[in-house]
Symmetry: C2
Amino acid sequence: MKLSAMRLALAFRFSTLLLAAGLLAGCATSGTSSPSSSLLVPPERGNGDLGLVIERESGTLGVLDTTARTRLGTVAGLGDLSHASVVFSRDGALAYVFGRDGGLTKVNLRTGAIEGRVMQAGNSIGGAISTDGSLIVAQNYQPGGVKVFDARTLEQLADIPAVVDGKASRVVGLADIPRNRFIFSLFDAGQIWIADLADPRQPKIQKFAGIGKQPYDALITPDGRHYIAGLFGEDGLAKIDLWAPEPKVERILPGYGKGQQPLPVFKMPHLRGWAVAGRHAYLPAVGRHEVLVVDTQTWQEVGRIPVAGQPVFVMARPDGRQVWVNFAVPDYDTVQVIDTQTRQIVQRLKPGKAVLHMEFTPRGDAVWISTRDDHRISVIDTQGFKTLATLPAKSPSGIFFTSRAARTGF
Amino acid sequence: MKLSAMRLALAFRFSTLLLAAGLLAGCATSGTSSPSSSLLVPPERGNGDLGLVIERESGTLGVLDTTARTRLGTVAGLGDLSHASVVFSRDGALAYVFGRDGGLTKVNLRTGAIEGRVMQAGNSIGGAISTDGSLIVAQNYQPGGVKVFDARTLEQLADIPAVVDGKASRVVGLADIPRNRFIFSLFDAGQIWIADLADPRQPKIQKFAGIGKQPYDALITPDGRHYIAGLFGEDGLAKIDLWAPEPKVERILPGYGKGQQPLPVFKMPHLRGWAVAGRHAYLPAVGRHEVLVVDTQTWQEVGRIPVAGQPVFVMARPDGRQVWVNFAVPDYDTVQVIDTQTRQIVQRLKPGKAVLHMEFTPRGDAVWISTRDDHRISVIDTQGFKTLATLPAKSPSGIFFTSRAARTGF
């Protein structure tokens, strides 16, 4: 019963709002076509200001230009892109797309070409790229575990099944850490592992056991220091200080979670969306209409900010001055903006139906918001909150800018 | 007397160690040649992992590949590049190079072509690019003031002479701040100005007077919040909190400077090199063999770390775990590494003669160090401190990676 409830919640979280999919039948395709035979980007133009949007229903990617605020083209043939995520090569030209169906696709944004594609698992939940750009790692639900690929050829270099007590565990919360190492959480086993891939065909594994029940997602802080896993099976969070001489698991925020008198949770919030702004982290409360403020020096809660619904993503503008929040149903048409200096809501926006993701331009002057059921992306000025542009996108979910290539944990 | 001493110190600071130039007569050119007629970077390759090195004696730029750790080519014809600096377009393909001779050159890293060049002043000291990438601003010694250019055409859009009481002031410490505004310091007038270039042909200027004597350099913190100017004419620093409802100038660190019993100062340290790591800033002491530790919440000094010489650049690895320091003569062959957790020196390196600059790869796994008198760049692993590669460069000074395009104040 508990496991099935958990599965339901996870399915709900990761495929989000499948009930809305029916609305999409017969919706028009966007006007762009796949220009796989020609360049999307002229040879003399750079790609530091480009990005991608995931179009989940059609299995396509839209290539975005954040300077002209236009859509340069479409790449098709990526399979099931529900809950797909993307990491970029060091040069920002290659996107590695992890599909829910286990597909790992290497796409060149500059040419629009698919340079490689492997079906690496039955059910995948994202991936990461090594600091040196040479390794791609995928985390899987089915068959569980983690697989390591050559970033150039997509050849499989290692398989790390994440077996504990004879049982393969689903893996979540994968993040890159320095020196071609990766950290991830084992949902079924309640462990955190670090894989050292200095020799990628011979991974060395460090294991942290007994971290708590059912880690369901995790994040790494922007400086790469703290890895924090959320626990589905109990309240509180598991944290590892990777800079400690002997890293170990600590529990923080014992009240974080569903609590003793749980409210209905419409969608487990994304931990990876956690905002760290200055010395404070801003966290989505689970099931409550609140954003929690946590002091990252003591890891104690120091405040709560009432918001419009159950928060899903809580994301800091790159300068940390603002935190933007979107919400689960029924408030998923709303975005609120918190000023971190006053901890007040300074703006409430309704960019469209089913806000699924927000991505800031690297210097934070604009945010790009996908509204799945309105089939568009809105580009919003973060200072005056004007809508600067809207772009067509078919059931858009995640938006990923190439500036992520320069960041740990992205 | 005082002015001439100041001029001497500034000349010394900005052109650094001219006495060593004689050593360069007859030195070999690097093996690369200028491929201006062909692409340096293939159309399908991205430019997120590229960079430039300034070759001051030959007026050339070396184009660098931080993934392969190679030099892709050379761009010639940039004039006097002593103390040259660079900003990048949003797409990372275009470098705007500010030469000491007043030349502003637009270089395309991907093609190796010079796309435009104007002589905009008699003596220039650097520049900045607006958040939206549309405006280039140069700060000048001769004739003083600031000029604004169209980033595409290099057409001059505005001239801001920085005249106070009928006298044109030299301008230093220019930085971009959000919404196409720029902040800078007037050396002769002792003021800080903010130019709002929402309409670039009609700049609106906000002036802060009486900030202290002779601001000689300035920095903006990585979040764009605090602008801090060093004062050549007195001790202490001038700070403006740009997030305050009514920004105003405050004095901080009253003991910072040459002090009451000045030691000989071989080179005024670069403020722009200041490291902000976690809640602490690490500052080069003026004339003393120390790095100062300052709490950025109180702006009080909280510690001093003894180092090998007079620090010039004090730079944080992107994750803030380490601070790297280079030194003025006679210790300019040395680099020291501070662990910010213990505030201890954890490594002393001698990468070569006349260490002029250090640039970290965006995720901090390596640092690239220019050693002018050994005519090379050393690529050093920041974890194990091994030299990963050395590349030829003729009298190299500044190294600039395209990942700067995503950062405020770079």
